[in-house]
Structures are given as structure tokens and as C-alpha cells.
């Protein structure tokens, strides 16, 4: 049963590690802007530029 002493230590260290990681994530500003990254991921990384020939028509 003495192994439980070790396991408790390991579990506390693990959980504490996650807490530190969470602090780091908050500090880095990851949670400040939750909207822009969602849009940014949709941009294509294309380098070639295709030109549109038609003028967009919109009626007002």
C-alpha cells in the first residue's frame, strides 16, 4: 500500500503542473482574443494571385 504515498505525490505534481501551464497560457494572452484566430485560420496560404475579371454587381 505504500505505493499510494508515491502516487499521491505524482498526482499532486501533475495537477500542479497543469495549473502552472494554465497560468502561462493566460499570461501569454491566449484567451484575450477568442474571435480573430477563428477567422485567421481560414486564410489560404496561396502565393499565386488569381485575378477576378468580373466586377461584383450589387444593387442598392
Amino acid at each position: 500500500m505504500e505505493v499510494i504515498f508515491v502516487l499521491i505525490g505524482v498526482s499532486l505534481v501533475l495537477a500542479g503542473g497543469f495549473l502552472v501551464l494554465f497560468f502561462k497560457a493566460v499570461k501569454s494572452g491566449q484567451y484575450d482574443d477568442q474571435h480573430t484566430p477563428a477567422m485567421r485560420i481560414l486564410f489560404d496560404q496561396k502565393t499565386k494571385n488569381k485575378t477576378k475579371n468580373k466586377t461584383p454587381k450589387k444593387t442598392k
Partner: protein, 817 residues
Amino acid sequence: MEKTSTRFHDETRTTCFHCGELCDEEIILHDDKGFCCTGCKTVYEVLNENDLCDYYDISETPGSNRKKENSRFNRFDYLDDPEVLENLVDFKDDKNIHITFYVPLIHCASCIWLLENLHRLHDGIFYSRVDFINKKVQVKFSREKISLKHLVSLMAGIGYEPQIHLSDMVHPKKPAVDRKLVYKLAVAGFCFGNMMFFSLPEYFSEAELLGDGFRELFHYLNVLLALPVVFYSATDYFRNAWMSLKNRSVSMEVPIAIGIATLFLYSLYEIFVMGREGYLDTMGGLLFFLLVGKWYQQKTFDTLSFDRDYTSYFPIAVSRMVKDREEVIPLTKVQVGDRISVRNEELVPADSVLLDEAALIDYSFVTGEEVPVRVQKGALVYAGGRLKGSSVQLLVQKSPSQGYLTDLWNQETFNKENREDSLASLATLISGKFTLTVLLIAFGALVYWSFYDLPMGVRAFTAVLIITCPCALAMSTPFTLGNVMRIFGKRGFFLKNSQVIEKLAMVDTLVFDKTGTLTSPSKAQIHYEGEALSEETLSVLKALVNHSIHPLSNRINRWLGDIPAAKLERVEEVPGKGLKAIYKSQDVFLGAASISGMNDKTGFKSKGNKVHLLLEGVHLGTFYIESGMREGMAEMIQALGKSHSLHLLSGDQDHERAHLEEKFGPGMHMHFQQSPKDKLNQIQWLREEGKQVLMVGDGLNDSGALKAGQVGIAVTENISHFSPASDALLDGEKLRYLPAYLEFARLGRRIIKSSFGLSFAYNALGVFFAVQGLISPVFCAILMPASSISVVLFTTLATNYFARQKGMNEKPTSVWK
């Protein structure tokens, strides 16, 4: 007018490739694409050269219209001033500068893409990141390769001109978002979870099986984990409790702090002296739930600004004339007696005297009325007016911070923080009595038991303090208010903080501003008198007003509707007077009476603005333009009149009194010809009478009144645009729902009251066992979180239920217009 066929533009349907607006004036063809103005074409050329035309593929016509663009070449000169630079940048060293710009034009994915590809436009820029919601972009650049001024003009050149206002200069930069609460919450959650693990075996007597070694280890681990909870996560409660005791009042924090302290100390005593398990897991759980409630209430509408004063709108720099030479200096350095030059569409930064013949000043920023006022030479122009037409020179009379309007902010009455007054929140009202009762019961139990059994008395005493820790009580307010605030936000009503809800619920007097608040420029009513207008005349009119951006022209344009425009020659806008043109060798004129060569004899209808139409000097007719009421105003006023006393404040003459009285009924007290100071005094007078005043206004001239009222609601056409400092922002279209909002705020207060009842029931049950000394750690670990959670559930469900019932939950409106 003779009847002949009119040639129409064939291209009236073509839209600009860059901005997507109709090319109704001219069409510039370039690369087989049509542009509405050279501004748009230039942006396209710049992007095309740098191979950035993906911009046009991400969203359709992502650009913004460039017709009205201010293209003065030296307008960014002030950015070379080292003092300005010092105040604007986030970070700088010898090589690099980091700066965050506010770019209000960010509105689509293309904007993000282009602004994050700034490095392709200039190799001095090595980083740019957009925050879409806040419409901000952070740029890092090398100061050897590109200057700040160059960078800003580069961004302006592609249509994303950063807005730099005086407030960026005079106010210190706000510290980064306060993340302390999140940290405290995380710590409390971590410790609570682990303490639960170590306490569970105890509850199920498993610890006995494991042996005493484990039991003690678990106890000591719990103490270890409790330390950060008490000495880090709970610090705010101790501090606030101490502050409120020092001010001789008892806030909600006092009983919480007593409860936590007793829990902690008594548990230490139990663990180290008695060798029992203590209540540390309960304490961790309570603090965790309390902090969750605090965090939930802290919902803020970050992108909206409620504390703006004039500095947020004033330009950062002005052009000063020194011996006929112009120099651009920061506004903070402007002194009385300086000659400054103000251009079309620029804001007058200080009260000054006009040195040129005449000028048109648009005070919409100040009064809400967007039709410009004509000012003659030698007259005073107030700070906050926007110049329309060609540039003028002004002689500064007062420093920018002491103008007629800006002075309103310097009033001492405005230290609202010092006025936590008659409207103390419900929780504060109750916590005083609550704490007193709890202490009485606790001491009563101690005295009673001490006759028989002193240790039992001490145990009962601490048990009462522990079990009555008013966590459910403390949680009902933040969760109810936080939820109400979210529901309001969905409906276009944004509150500065949740305390405003309780104040709203108590309001008994409503004061409305008229222009721009009850009336709306977009609801203008146009009335034409004179000779009948033929279809041809209408198309000539259309072509005329198309040429002007004057608000009256815009309104006539809207009134004319979607009709074809005639072909005119030599169209000319005489600033402040009207529009001249030649149509089939006949002079056409549309504008004010003074130029049309006729006296203003149509005195029978003196309200509103008049626009005359003349052909070859012959008067054809007159347009009467009044700003109209918003939809549903009369119904709203009548609904509110049943429960509140109503006042109307207007800067106008009282010629509309009869008309308004007929509309709103006799219940409305009307006050006309009110200066901004008068409005402020009127509110203060009402408050001295003991009224709880809600002020609803829109312009800078209401700002004093908005601040003086218990609650100030700023009505705005576009939530992210101009609004004076206020407690709440309301979308103009939603003003008519004001009675429902007020009712819902009152309901919120009632929900809090009933949840207080619920938590009192829990406390009574707890105290019943506690005075008999029958409290065990297991009992605490179950009862206390159960009461907290059930109160939270009750308030959340109740607010959502009533919201649905009152129709508040319908369709959410978009926030990011």
C-alpha cells in the same frame, strides 16, 4: 420646364470594385474594373503592385468608400514629435517600436488578412496582429527603416487609417486586462478539487482501512492545500471586509470573511489538536463557488467604452499658423491666442473666434442635430463642432480643456465614485442585519451552552459561524445580475456594470433629451410646398443632391427615392448656401433663402429647415425638413407615464410644444431652450427633491446630465461610434423597448429577493442543527455546496424564464455592426 427626353447614366448600376458602393457620379475604369473615385482606385493600385489582391477574394468589396477622404499630405506631421511618440507606443528601444492602433474600419476577414500582411508593403514592418473584436492592430517595426509617420500614412494609403485621439496622449495607457481573478479562481479550483480527493475516504471511513498514517497525511495535505486558498484566493474578501468595517458599514464581504476565517482556524484546531478531519474541503469549495460568481458577474463589453470624455474625440494635433506658415503641433501645446487652421470635416478643438467671413459648423457631435449651423465672422465657435466646407482660421479663446462643453467634465459633482448613495444595493442592505443576527445567535448559543458544557458551547459557536457563511446569499446577486446583463446585451442594451441594473429598478423619474434621442435624423419628415414637381424636375433634383454630402441634401435624396438622375452641367456647391447647376441652359438652384434672392416671407411655418428650389431665379417651391420621431416613441412615453414621472429637455425653441404635447399627452413635463448647464442643473434639482433620475440622452451636450443622473443611458445610432460617458449604451432602434427593459430590471431585483428567501431557509436549517452542536464535516460538505448550487440554479432559471415571458429572449441582435 420644357419636356424633352433626358439622358440617363447607363452606369448607375455599376458598383465600385473596391468599396462596393454605387458609382453614381463617375466611373473610373482601371484594369477592367470600375471604381467610384480615385481614392478607391489608388488603394487598388497599391495592393496590385504589391501582389496583395487576395484582399478582394476573401470578402467581396471589402474596402471602405474613399470619396470623403481627407487627403492633406502633412496631417501626420505631429507623429514626428518625440513627446507624442513617447505617449503612443507600447514599447520602444533603439531599434524597434511596438505600437497598437485603433482602426475602426476593420470589419471583415479581408481587413484582417491585409493588415496582417503589412510586412509585404514595407520591409521595415516585421509583425502585425489584428484583434478583430476590439478593432485593434498591433504593429512592430524597425525604426531605422520606417518612421511612425510613414507607417501611419502607409496604412491610411490602403484605407485603414488609425484613429489617434487626444485621450491616447493625456491618459496613461490602461494596464493590460486584469487577470488576477482568473488566477485566483484557478488556484481555488485546483486546491478545492484535490482537497475533495483527500477528504472523500474520510467520509466513507475508508481512511480507517488505510491506517492512521494515511489519515494524518491526508489532513496535512489538506492544510497545505488550504493555505493558498486562504492567503491568495480569499484575499479580496478579507481586504474588502476590512475596508467596509473601517468605513463603519457592513458589506456582504464581512460575514463571508468571518465565515472563512472561522472555518480555517477551527479546522486547524481540529486537525492539529483533536486529530480530526476539519472543514477545509468545504472552505475550498465555497471560495471556488464565490469566485465563479464574481467572475460571472464581471462580464464586460470590452469593445464599448462607457467612460469616454471629450479627449476621446478630439484630434491629437492641430495646425497652428505662425507668420503665415503652418506647423502641426500636438493639441496639448495649444495656447490661448494661437491662430489655428481647421479644415473640412475636422473638429474644432477649442472654443475660438472665427477669423474668416463665414463657416458652417456641424454640432451633431454636440447636440445630435446634424444640420450645420452658419457662423459669421467674429462669432464664437464651440469646441466639438465639426467644420463643413473650406478651411477657416480660428483664434483660440480658451484652452481645449476649458471650453464651454469640456468644462462640464470638470464639475466636481462628477466624482460618481464618491456618491455611492441612497441606492445601496440590496445585498449591502441585508448583509448588515444578517451579520448582526448571526453574531447574536452564535453568542446566544455560546452563553447557553457554557452553563452546561463549555467545549460544547465553543463548538456550537463556531458551527453557527461556519454554517451561516452567507455564500448562497452572496452568490444570488452576481448570478442574477450577470444573467440579466447578458440578456440585455443580446437586445442591444449594454450596461457598464451590473450595479446599473439595481439602479434601473429603482428609477422613478425619466428625463429625455429631444433631438437625436426621441427624434432621429434618419426619420426626417419632408414636406414640399409649391408648384407640382414633374418627373423631369425630380430627376434634376436627384442629380443635384447626388452631388452633395450636406445632410439636407441626403434627406431630400432619400425622400426622392430610387429614381434616375438627369444629366447636369457645371454643378457647383456653394458651401453653406446651396447647389447651383445648369440644366439645358437654364440655371437651377437648390438651397437656403439668403442666396436665392428672396426674402424668407414664408413665415407661417417657422419650424424645421427650409430648402428652396429655383429655376432661372423663379421660386418653384420649398422643402420643409423636420427631424421626425423615432418609431414607437408615443407608445413608449405613454407606457412609461403610468409608472414614472417624465421630463423632456430640449435645446430648441418651444414652437414644437403643442405638437409634442398632443403626441405624448399631458404627463410629460417639457423644458425648452436648455443649455447643457441647464440640463445638468435640472437633473440635480430633481435629485435634490429625492427623485431617482434616469437620463436618456445622446450628444455631448447631454453629457453633464447623463453623469448627474442616477443612471445615464446614451442613445446611439451605432454602438461602436460616438457616445458620451454614460452608465449604459442603447441602440437607437431599441429605445422603444425601454419600458420592457425597466420592467425586466425590476424583475431582476425581485428574483434576487426571492433567492435571498431561499438561502435564508438553508441558513435557518443549518442554524437549527448548529446551535445544538450537531454539525459534522460531512453535513457541511453536503449542505453548503448544495445551497449555493441550488440558489445559482434558481436565479439562472428564473431570469431566463422571465426573459422568455417578457419577450426579451427573442432573436439576438448583432453587436458588431
